[in-house]
């Protein structure tokens, strides 16, 4: 084989190798293309079938927006809809939501007093640091509230409020885009809390401190609830107030002892009045029993006197017969009998004889010595 043949054979070999490489590459690319195509077909099939299924839990509703427009609302169950970006699902919680309003509760300091940790109120209250309310009689109180509400109209709730991207979460904190500082929250919970705080302030501003704290705290809570509910209804944001609880109400810590003194004094006054009422009941009973006794005695008297006079009449008639026969004897007999029976019972008997002058002299020692115990015992015997 000449040298030229050798070169030709080498080129042919290179060409064949190149072609084989290209064919292998083409096959690989073709395979990759087919794989990618399959993947895309699979994705398309998935997108139009399984990918659109979603579950709605019992404690939520789902609002479906298709190309931005609300098309339907789903309650608990299993549904299909075009996935994002054609459809957008927004889950609205319909279970009970809770908001705690502690904006008006005290910020107590804990100090050690006589070896015990005790809450101590500050001598002054600073706006922004210490939460409190002004009552109608210009006093200060602290209150702590808990609101339970539920979303009754998810569509209204979603459309009329500025909901966070996930409405089941708390309101989003908004930041100033320039300074980067947090400037508060925005959303339905913020709105509801502000309305509730406003209702609390308005009702508290008409209450007496005693009424809000002790005497009419239930009516106070009801008044706040009523006002808050009417304000929420006016806004028509699709929620219903389930319950509003006055978790705590307190006088400023610095004045708690003085308020306690009032409670003690009120209790004491109440006790005194109750004792007086008990006395009145006793007196009424005594009066009734005394009156009935007096009347009963009178009745007895009435009966007795008639009975006595009747018996006397009988007695008199019998004596009269004998008296008419022998007046003096009867009189002396009766007199002697009476005197005898009388004198039997008389302890000391003194008979003063006449002196020679025909007069009687008697000397009485006033203020005699008291009888001693022995005399008494002798008497008993």
């Amino acid at each position: 084989m000449s040298g030229q043949d050798k070169n030709t054979t080498g080129e042919l070999k290179d060409t064949l190798q190149y072609r084989a490489g290209m064919e292998a590459l083409a096959r690989s690319l073709h395979f990759a293309f087919i794989l990618l195509s399959c993947l895309m077909v699979f994705l398309l099939i998935w997108y139009f079938t399984v990918g659109g299924y979603y579950e709605v839990k019992p404690q939520e509703n789902v609002i479906v927006e298709r190309f931005g427009r609300i098309v339907e609302k789903h309650e608990a169950g299993y549904y299909w809809s075009f996935p994002y970006p054609v459809s957008r699902l927004t889950r609205i919680p319909i279970s009970k939501q809770t908001i705690t309003v502690s904006s008006y509760w005290h910020k107590a300091d804990i100090k050690e007093i006589k070896g015990e940790q005790q809450t101590v109120g500050a001598a002054t209250l600073a706006p922004g640091r210490d939460g409190y309310l002004l009552t109608g009689d210009a006093n200060i109180i602290h209150t702590d509230w808990e609101l339970v509400y539920s979303i009754t109209d998810p569509l209204k709730y979603y459309v009329r409020n500025t909901c966070p991207s996930d409405p089941s979460r708390l309101d989003e904190i908004k930041y100033n885009p320039v300074t980067g500082k947090a400037i508060g929250t925005r959303g339905p919970r913020t709105l509801i809390q502000s309305i509730l705080e406003n209702s609390i302030i308005k009702i508290t501003a008409t209450q007496k401190v005693d009424a809000a704290l002790y005497k009419k705290s239930s009516e106070y809570r009801s008044a706040v609830n009523s006002l808050f509910t009417s304000e929420i209804d006016k806004l028509d944001i699709g929620i219903k107030v389930e319950n509003l609880t006055l978790k705590g109400n307190s006088a400023p810590l610095n004045t708690v002892a003085a308020f306690q003194e009032v409670i003690d004094a009120e209790l004491m006054a109440s006790t005194e009045k109750e004792n007086a009422r008990a006395y009145a009941v006793t007196m009424a009973g005594e009066a009734d029993s005394g009156a009935s006794r007096i009347i009963a005695d009178a009745q007895v008297y009435k009966t007795q006197i008639v009975a006595d006079i009747q018996s006397e009449q009988v007695y008199f008639k019998k004596i009269l017969e004998e008296y008419r026969k022998s007046p003096r004897s009867v009189l002396i007999a009766l007199y002697s009998e009476t005197i005898t029976s009388l004198l039997e019972n008389v302890r000391d008997k003194y008979v003063i004889p006449e002196d020679r002058n025909g007069s009687h002299e008697i000397r009485i020692m006033l203020n005699p010595e008291p009888r001693n115990q022995k005399d008494k015992e002798k008497e008993k015997q």
Binding site: S37, M40, F67, G68, R69, I70, P85, T124, P127, G128, L133, T135, A138, N139, I140, Y158, V159, T162, C163, I183, G184, T190, L191, S194, I195, N198, I201, A205, A251, P252, T255, F259, E261, V262, A265, M268, E272, A276, R277, A284, A287, G290, Q299, T303, I305, I309, Q313, Y315, F316, L320, Y323, R324, Y335, N345, V346, R347, K349, V351, P353, E354
Partner: protein, 314 residues
Amino acid sequence: MIVQDNGIRRTRHWPMLILGMIVSVIFLFAIFSFQVKSTEIAVVTTLGKITGVKEAGLHFNWPWPFQKIHKFDKGFHCFDGSSGKMEETYTADGQPVVAEIFVVYKIVDAEKLFKSLTFPDISQAEDKINSQMRNEKTAILGKYKFSELVNTDPSKMKLNEIEERMRTGIAPIVLEKYGIQVESVGIKSLGLPEKNTGNVLNRMKAERNVVAEQYRSDGKSEAKIIKDQADNTRKLKLAEADARAKQIRAEGDAAAAGYYSTFKEEPELASFLRKLESLRKIIPSRTTMILNTDYAPFDLLKTEQSLLKEKKDK
């Protein structure tokens, strides 16, 4: 797809082309369209100029940087002020108070709002609303007495009126300038400057002492009244009973008097018997009696007893 054409293998790519076209359409669709949610309103700017305001739905647009989309929430916003929200202000009667207010607003003219902002963020509009809120709060609270902010008589408490006046003060300006409609204004905290709260707390303590003393005093006096009434009632009942008893006794005496006619047959004997009966009743036991010999039977003790004397003489 591979097909045989006159013994030559040819690959047909049209299914792939269709697939590629679908994907391309999706991408193009994504690039040249945008969605506005039901809760939003969008302002479209083309090369910096406002060219449209879009409501909820699917809309087409030129991609960035030709057109930009600025979206705003059109639901209720609740804004409680930013700087100066806890500042001190004075009522008409000179009482310093610290009031914090909030506004509930919604965007009704997104174009106007967008024009009023240097950058498209609602917080910038809120800063401007805040200054209006501060002005109105100071001005309106200054027209009312402290007793019109808090009063136990609800008809004299004018917080509703104050809020409404604040709203009517803020709303037209904000609507005119920023296209924002203020739905309501509310007070969310009402207090006193810190230096004044100390005096209030001291006054509260003093008032409590007075109230406590009042309770004690009232308790005692009411208890006394109740006891006195009970005593009076008792006396009255007993007096009535006495009167009734007298009547009953009188009835008894009257009934007894009917029998006295018998005694008229021999009044002296009747009188004598009565006296004897009285003696029995009057003289109790353990009585000390001092008698002289003038009374029978002690007259027997006399030395010159007449009967004995007579016997002696006989």
